[in-house]
Symmetry: C2
Subunit: 476 residues, 2 copies
Amino acid sequence: MEVHIGPGLPTPSGTPSGKEGKEPELREVARACLEAALRAVEPGRLVSDHLAASPLPQVTGGLYLVGVGKAAEAMAEGAQRVLGDLIRGGVLILPPASAPSGPPQPQEDPPFPVLLDTLQGLHAFRGGHPIPDAGSVEGSQAVLELASQCSHEDLLLCLISGGGSALMTLPPRGVSLEAVQQTTDLLLQSGATIQELNCVRKHLDRLKGGRLARAGAPAQVVALVLSDVVGDPPEVIASGPVSPDPTTFADAISVLEARDVWEAVPSSVQRHLLRGKEGMEEESPKEGDPGLGRVDWRLVGNNGMAVDAAREAAEALGFHTRILSTRLTGEAREVGRVLAAAGQEMRRSGEPVPLPGCLLAAGETTVSVVGSGRGGRNQELALGAALALEGEEGILVASLGTDGVDGPTNAAGAVVDGSTLSRARKRGLDPRDALARNDSHPLFASLGDLLLTGPTGTNVMDLHLVLVRGPGEGGE
Amino acid sequence: MEVHIGPGLPTPSGTPSGKEGKEPELREVARACLEAALRAVEPGRLVSDHLAASPLPQVTGGLYLVGVGKAAEAMAEGAQRVLGDLIRGGVLILPPASAPSGPPQPQEDPPFPVLLDTLQGLHAFRGGHPIPDAGSVEGSQAVLELASQCSHEDLLLCLISGGGSALMTLPPRGVSLEAVQQTTDLLLQSGATIQELNCVRKHLDRLKGGRLARAGAPAQVVALVLSDVVGDPPEVIASGPVSPDPTTFADAISVLEARDVWEAVPSSVQRHLLRGKEGMEEESPKEGDPGLGRVDWRLVGNNGMAVDAAREAAEALGFHTRILSTRLTGEAREVGRVLAAAGQEMRRSGEPVPLPGCLLAAGETTVSVVGSGRGGRNQELALGAALALEGEEGILVASLGTDGVDGPTNAAGAVVDGSTLSRARKRGLDPRDALARNDSHPLFASLGDLLLTGPTGTNVMDLHLVLVRGPGEGGE
């Protein structure tokens, strides 16, 4: 997997421009670290390595596969490499062809459902993301049928990755997809937290919140999970289809009431939740519920693995390293300022990392969009850092979305240093104004400071590096 | 200097409640670290220690003293302890009696000008802060007269601390104090940066921007400076009265034009700046300008000293330590989230600090006020951290304003941990709502989690601690 720094998409030749010796050294270090990080979370390899090291339990029946999420295709390929013909069949729900929310691509109008050549024998559907669509429902129906047919002697291998909440959506009887979408929209507009949203979604679905595991019982269920959520919580990733759900129908009603949208949701939703509260609909399985069956939940990849690989690469290049956190959240530009402040401290005092030093961080920031510009959270984080780094020598901050797609742009992120602002101004660009308008992308494109990978097929959120030269080493 | 944790002002007995064994251990560690930090930046001791270690140059004439800023009184006392009768006279400009912007106090209507008993022979004025007033001007006039009378054989000792920009304000002839205030207000409303504001202020004043040093020449000038600005820039602290000014009259006009307020500022201001641009008013002295005279600028205190003292205290209590940055800036609640994320990482992986660990940070955050609640940047930072720490065990975040006054409250800051949110909810408080309304103070007052010091007489901005127990140690 290659990371390219430049003004646009990687050149077809794939020659990283840095190897021509035109770029400052810190950029090459950043590129090497980020490439190592992406290699470490390649979903196919994560799955095949895991299965090779920790084989599946032997069963006397059949092995069936369910794959859902943005990395479903790569994870399934990894499983096939190890398991081959042992897989008797399965269902995949993949993101839309142009996913994940990347630049516009030639529309292919994919056949529906799609049977992929590379995954012979597996039924592959394309669902909607971030808004579930008819493909999500059709694929989910196929998943439910497959799981329900499994017997005690079978093994159901679930490959779960980010995006699964939307891609695998199956409203209960009597509730339409539109009613679920409307409820979700109302909650989002009301400022509901992701916890509140998930509580409601898990009670308007036949697979979320442990219900897929219940459908699969009494088969043995093994879940291999690539986490795109801070802290890797099983009940949150892809809405926890094989994990106990700590929330109830009553909780879901309370959330809608607390957010003042109970009166506004479709009556079919009200009816379903009220029936559930009265015990007339099946509650999601709780911790210890025997109905959950035998579930073996295994994390095969997360942002910590990406950070560890980046760290090893930095150390191999002679940098001292330290991890600030793998759980960073917050407003992107503000996180960028904090990382810049850490870089300034490193340069002056060798804290928190001795020089030459690399401070690593990972997580998922957010952007409060107020302007109409183009950018993404990684580019905005980088621009926030650039404003704080003006004129500083020997400090570089890089921010990369591991899925390769940062916001609605063709870039994965950006790199900044003490020269970013002056170079931008020389081109007639106003960095403060660009940040105020959420318009980081054109600025970095003009400077040639974008991080470009193309869609990577993985997603373990974002990665940030602060690289600082030794005190005796020259500036940029 | 004592730090108290509780619901209101320290009890008259001064007995820290922690010594009664009622509080969790991490709170005691935080209290000890913060007390050590405040002791390390007590302005009187900083000045007397500095003068004892680095005596002033011998002069054949007289030694005169100018003290301006929030710490002027304490710094002058420190100078008097070492220099005693050597000081022939001087002028102090102190903050208002109820300063720094603390809770309402009985109005004393101080005599004007005030001659303080404790500082015999020094003329002490009270200026306005944050808005300069007639006292600022009268005191500044006295400072200018004193400096102008110094001869080549004299030494002018300047004690400079935060707040000096407002406390020492002396508009040029033909420009009224009101015209300066109006110009400042217009710039602030236009979103001008502190750099832009300072550029204009330095060209509407007879002491700022190195002009005090020029007035003092040919005397030897020694400045002892307590920094309240991130990075300790001489030209920014108190508007740099004895430091070369990199900006010009033309820059000041450009700022007003760029911020679209040139047409709105009083005509007296326009006239003065235009005359200055045409060389008809004296430009502020630049780097290398012989008119600046002999200036020996010495930093006697900054937030790094406070952090180092806190670090020593933490290490004495068995904690591993590391400094994230002494240059933290950004939106307070977001910085709090980042610190919480670092604490979570420490608890799980011993990064960025091995356990038991203390991550230290310092700087000055900001609060974008959108609600009408009561709070300050330290309390808001703490509440931001609390939201991220819900349910976590063994992690504490403390945030303290070293001046002892956090926003318009009687507290210096607050401490939070994984129990803060649940304890607040048990009292019927809504932490998210409190943060949305910038109303952190009532919440922490109700919980008894305020940091209380009373006004400390010093100001090196804010201090933040993240304390994390060892993995084997119990929760709160």
